[in-house]
């Protein structure tokens, strides 16, 4: 799965930025890229922000996608640009100690 690896504090700041982008337009917080703790592998301890092409093409409202918002470029730039994305094994975000049922 494609996305950014970043610190917990940066991940929180990015999600707050997305929420602020909607709030500044008088909109509810209806969409986010989401963030996931990474439990295993070389990036353990960091956060994963999913950012694949399909997600960036999501119809948010009235045909507008995340990339149509000016804040998108700022937030992606904050994360190092789209070229900084990696392909993370989905198993890395599964807590091995989580209660199954």
């Amino acid at each position: 799965m494609i996305g950014f690896i970043t610190s917990p504090s940066t991940a929180a700041a990015v999600l707050a930025g997305i929420e602020q982008a909607m709030a500044s337009r008088g909109l509810p917080n209806y969409w986010s890229c989401g963030k996931y703790a990474i439990y295993t592998g070389e990036h353990a301890g960091n956060m994963f922000l999913p950012f694949d092409d399909g997600m960036m093409a999501t119809n948010l409202r009235g045909g507008m996608t995340p990339t149509d918002f000016p804040e998108f470029g700022q937030l992606v730039g904050f994360l190092g640009g789209l070229e900084a994305r990696i392909d993370l094994d989905p198993q890395a975000i599964i807590d091995p100690n989580a209660e199954i049922e």
Partner: protein, 273 residues
Amino acid sequence: MNYSLGYTLGRSMVFSRGDADALAYIAAVEGTGTSVSSTQKTAINDFYVAAKADSYYTSLKRLYLPIWASAAANAIDMIGLTSGTFNGGVTHAAGYVQGNGTTGYLVDTVNATAHVTLDNVFIGSLLKTNHGGAFDASIGVGTGGTSIILNSSATAATSLAGSAVGGTGQIDVGVASNSGISSIAFNGTTRRLKLRRTAGNTLLGSNAIASGTVPAVQFAILARQASLGVFSLHSSAEVGAAFISLDNGDTLNDAFTLALQNLWQDTTGLTLP
């Protein structure tokens, strides 16, 4: 007055006198830049009218109808007009949303404790097609004995399982297809797992359990929120509706799921399997 003008005015007059909550929901959807056809408006109005006439409307806490191919419109709750939040990889298609099975989900706005109690809960989801993934949640919150969840079985690829608060283990039933409107209800004594398909409404299983504790985190759709901010059991199922309600008993619960079937079919032009 020509027919088309008369027809247009007639529809307008009908909806200016429509159910107030239906009008509000339609306005909210249209406010996201999404078109709502007259057929869809009629179906939405009919749903609210029936829900209030049958007295289960006040028990409904959340009803998401993600059919609009738009995140903002799909996130609107038909009951309180609140907006859930879509996260991660979710496809917004005509008639349903589909998670990517790894990161996508919709999370509700308030904790489950604000919606249901430990001995009074009724949740469900509409799956457009059979979902063969093992142990994937279409709606859920909590873990173990405090979970309220509908999911496919951990062992059977085509199955339906559900938990309500307090249950040890799940009602877990193999089915030919888990598409349709699945629901689990609990009245403090007995939990019931049901599946409504076009062919009928089937009680898949029931058992007596003790009351447990409602998790103090929000419900997720297309996944389960295990604890605050921790989401798991992501599903790639095609979900056309999801709801959180109090348990009204089987008669009214069945009336609601039938009305939901009609609502989804009439607003999408699709047919429940």
